[in-house]
Amino acid sequence: MSNIITVVIDGIAYGMLLFLLAVGLSVTLGLMRFINLAHGAFAMGGGYLAVTLTNRAGLPFLAALPITFVAVGLVGLVLERSGIRHLYRVSALRQVLFTIGFAFAMSAFATILFGPQQQPVRLPLWFSARVPLFGVEIAGYRLFLIIVGAIIATTLAVLVDHTLWGARIRAAVDNRRAAEGIGISVERLFAITFGLGTGLAGLGGALSIEFLGLDPTFAFKYLTIVLMVVAIGGAGSIEGPILAALFLGVADGLFKYFLPEAGSFVIFGLFVTVLVFFPAGLKGRTT
């Protein structure tokens, strides 16, 4: 029993990471129908930035996190304004090709700068402390992930549901033309959202070093599961990706615990089944 609790808590921590990695993709996809397969590359960039800041510049990990978030977010914003915004009108195929090309180039850059090996990261000591909870001992790092994830998810949900900015986003996702008609500048809205989304991906990348590892293949390794979160959660909302990420994280953990020989097979099977029966995602927003 205590094992199962550990597995579930691990799964929730993993789910929070998946949420951070996926939420930007989900919102930008919902807003602009822009298929961004380079999202994982931004997360990878965040990971490498955090490694550089902590290991080479000697910053504490907790200080490196907000810097990573802001820096990757700014890079995303600049790229959106300079290149990506020209891609909204082209076909899905060209968007896919461009973003795959970008991710390829980034992953090659990472190999050139850092080499192909896994990157170690210096974490605060209390991350490896074991905290007793629900009768089991939980690694401090897992707990930290869950708390950070919950704070960010709540903040985002409040922002989207209760601020003018959020109302604009919801309006633009529902009906872009009508939103533009009443004077919402969807382009500016999108640039900010894109920056925020890439920043969160960068933060997710930094946080996942200890959990998922960091090497140049990161840009594509978690792409499938991140897209699964978006697809199951439905594009363009906050609650959808949260639920989908937690569900996938916990389900993946449980299946790997009870059926280790099947590995990720079950989770992919589950995903394909969901797509067969709910092509628009479980949340039911149109993609």
Binding site: A92, V96, F102, S107, T111, A231, G263, F268
Partner: protein
């Protein structure tokens, strides 16, 4: 209004030109056999890559279905041929047939989702299914050898007459014949009324039902054909290299074939053929020198191609054709 005779003349010119291009492609493949007898293994791999690229081009270039998981069919074909050979059915043609059948069957199962989806759902489904099959092959070590691949199986002589030799001569002619047959078959398919209907669907999916075209059935058939040919390509690679491995199913290969179709010019068979051959050659030479700079360059070129190179190599060929057409 162009006079009828001139139009007929244009059509004859078009016919001659495209046949001439196809014939020179075949001649180039044969010529490479004569000129580079030491590189037969590489040339055979290039022919396999071309067949795979043509299969993907049928899907994306003609039917307009984007896929991020086409390597799934390629790998399925490779593993089918390898597993059959290990089970004692070593006849290469039986292997090809089985590979085509298995890939087509899997494609058939997927058609309901592929056909009704948007581009985004298609990308997700193809990526998801490819990951699923990859993971299945990875886990079923007893059948597939898992991450180590499947090295040890025998392949019988073709027709019982031509054994696969160490120099790779039989392998070359085997792959060459498959290439020519697939090219001719796809030529026939894409110029048939069915091929025209596919092009219509690609251009305007809403209007096609209005003229009575069964859109879903056409797309299903295209998807199955494309899957079957990809399976054949995979089987040829497994049989000629006597090896099947997980990377034949992987995401990299799916992304690669998408790039090749783009560089070659989507929907342009001769362009895609040349594109695949050039890509394979460049990859072989450059990735041996420096894999990371090859990947960097590839990414950059791809990003630029999205903005600038709209028609790829096929576009160049068409321009050449228009030069000759001028009175």
């Amino acid at each position: 209004m162009i006079p009828l005779s001139a139009r007929a003349g244009k059509r004859v010119w078009h016919f001659r030109f495209t046949h001439g291009v196809a014939a020179s492609l075949f001649a180039a493949a044969l010529g490479s056999y004569v000129l580079f007898p030491d590189y037969l293994a590489l040339i055979t791999q290039l022919l396999v890559l071309i067949v795979f690229a043509l299969s993907y081009d049928l899907l994306q270039g003609h039917a307009g279905i984007v896929s991020l998981g086409h390597a799934a069919f390629f790998g399925l074909g490779a593993y089918t041929a390898a597993i059959l050979a290990r089970a004692g059915i070593t006849d290469p043609l039986a292997g090809l047939g089985a590979a085509a059948a298995v890939s087509a069957a899997v494609a058939l199962v997927l058609t309901p989702i592929i056909v009704r989806g948007t581009d985004f759902t298609r990308l997700l489904v193809t990526l998801g299914v490819a990951s699923l099959i990859y993971e299945a092959a990875n886990r079923m070590r007893a059948f597939t050898g898992g991450a180590d691949g499947m090295p040890d199986f025998e392949v019988a002589p073709v027709f019982g007459l031509f054994p696969f030799d160490f120099n790779g001569k039989t392998a070359f002619f085997y792959a060459f014949t498959v290439f020519v047959l697939v090219y001719a078959f796809l030529w026939r398919v894409t110029t048939s009324p069915f091929g025209l209907a596919m092009r219509g669907i690609r251009e305007n999916v809403r209007r096609m039902p209005a003229i009575g075209a069964p859109v879903r059935r056409h797309l299903s058939v295209a998807y199955m054909l494309s899957g079957a040919i990809a399976g054949i390509a995979g089987a040829v690679l497994a049989q000629t290299s006597r090896f099947a491995s997980l990377d034949m199913l992987g995401f990299d290969r799916s992304a690669e074939i998408m790039m090749i179709a783009t560089f070659g010019g989507t929907g342009h068979m001769a362009g895609v053929t040349i594109g695949a051959a050039l890509f394979g050659l460049l990859k072989d030479t450059l990735s041996n020198v420096s894999p990371k700079y090859w990947q960097l360059g590839l990414g950059m070129v791809l990003m630029l191609a999205v903005f600038f190179g709209r028609d790829g190599i096929g576009g160049l060929i068409d321009r050449l054709q228009n030069l000759g057409r001028r009175p």
